[in-house]
Amino acid sequence: MNAVIQFWTEHTPIFSILIPAFTAFILVLLGNPGAGALSEDWRQPWRRGISYISSILGLTTAILYLNLASNGQISIYSLGEWSAPFGIVLVLDQLSALMLVLTYALAAPILWYASHEWDTRGRYFHVMFHFLLMGLCGAFLTGDLFNLFVFFEILLMASYVLLVHGQGKARFQLGIHYVTINLLASALFLIGLGMIYGSVGSLNMADVARLIPLLEPDQHKLAVAGGLLLFVVFGIKAAMLPVGFWLPKTYAVATTPVAAIFTIMTKVGIYAILRINGTVFDDDLSHSILASWLLPIGLITSIYGVIGAIGAERLRRFVGFMILSSIGTILIAISLFNTLAWAAALYYLVHSTLIGAAFYLLSGWITSQRGVFKDHFNIAPQMKQHKVVSLVFFLIALMMAGLPPFSGFLGKVFILQATSHSPYQLVIIIVVLMVSLLSIIAFTRIGFVLFWRATVPEDNPNKEEFKAYQALPEQSPARNDKTIYLLLSGLLIYMVCAGPIQQYMFNTAEQMQNNVLYEGIILHKDNLNQVISVQPYDPENLPETKYGGETVDPNAHLIPYIISEKTLQGEHISEYKQRQINQQQTQEPVHPDDAKLKPREP
């Protein structure tokens, strides 16, 4: 038991990445027959079982990590024991722990919902789902810019496959759009990284944050330009406005569980904006540029979202536009750049993720109840479960539009409270309230079309419509309603516990803004109190090599700071080898004269 606990604490944050990764590999090895044969396949219960176990393990791990991080401790994991900034590090702080819990709190119910029927509609659903989780967890945990890119690619690759899950014309067509946009975004990501590396000489987040204020003005501008390019990329992922038009269409064609899990994908973009543009580029120039751009972007995105929602023709598009609007609200809060506003942004972020997912699930339910009318906003016969569906819709509408007492309202209140020092306070308050009003109007409109004006079902047994209506399901698709209830009750708990949660968010925002703390923990210092870090690359300045002759390494005294004590003592040397070394040392006492070359005997 002791050994298990030691193993656990030694390898702390990496388990969140390893659990979904190993699950996905095991699921790949289980094989996968064609989509048609999946429901009869004997391995399908095994796949589902492995998925459940893994997601529960992941959720437990995430909660334990949240518990670990909540006292303000930052855990570092140096991959391959290469210390930062030379190697890649994983960093578990309050923000990453929060995002991990959010990911799994969303993923576990959706996985359970999808495991009834949706996962038989295409191949490798569970595999891709777990690769997506792996990419998400990695992106939240990593402390290295290039590693962030790699994890982004992993989660995007999984999302490409998940988007076309279930196949069909529309999915492939929108799939091409989605992949093209994201490939272009990846290209921009790489260019941004190149500019940062070329000017700073490091890609470790803490090290970049430390080096940026020390750069020469020309190099500094180049680095800031790189950072702003990354901002554009994260904006594409988060679907902020000038680059976010892809979202409502794309999410509308995805299958219900996929659309629901995709609501966390936009939040990865928000997380990255907070982490990279908010804290890593922590200098006046980039902050002033970002603040002046982020606020109008946020305002326009939130207004555009609701206007699009008012004009939407289908329920899934409508949800997409509402998500766009909530992204705008979060961006407004981030643009204020103070601790209170960031705490509010985080509070609203969790709310908007869960409510968006619940709404996508509800639109799946409504679609199944309406038969041929699907989710189009046309007048249709009354749904068989119209009472419960309309009640759930009403609850979701209240939560999403931000009416009291629900968490959407609390989130917006926190944001408005944080505007007190902003010169644009009035504009922000007017826009946020206006967005709430417009979303109430939009919800009223679709509530009217879907529920209020529903016609009386055909009762003449000879008509086609009668048969069609009778063929509609009496109940919601299996597990669909329960998953919605689960997410909504989670949101109610989130609302009731708003006090302590808000306190946690505040601590998180405070910790995020404390760059000195990060540097102190992630980077090491030598005995002159200088940070051990990379130097700008100089082709003439060659380190000692085995070809370069015997010169004393001037940095040898740094070794104890970079390599852990255990390694220095020879922990990695096997017992057999250890014994050999000891034997040699005891057998052959060192003669100082032996080292000298002796004259050759004639």
Partner: protein
Amino acid sequence: MISLEFLLASAIGLLTATGIYLILRARTFPVVLGLAMIGYAVNLFLFAMGRIQVNAPAVLTETTKATDPLPQALVLTAIVIGFATTAFIIQLALRSRYETGTDHVDSKEDIVPIDPREDEP
């Protein structure tokens, strides 16, 4: 006059311009080609971010100069990822062509009302 820097910079610029032009085309195949072009441009750009050195290997040997090996490692990763995504989007485009019967990116086939050859003298 024509230095290595000039060559590399103009190559990156040309590749990007070609790529953007191709991405804005209406058929999937030029779009995929455009993505590949932009991928090459990005790889060259990343490579150049380690500063251009002539006659300097990335591996430390007895030479007196060496290039920064890190951007080369980054480029390698980017190439692999770009290769995989290009393969994926080609497959996706083929499948889309199969499903919709057209290789237009929006699956909207505008039938040209006039045969352009009619206007030929």
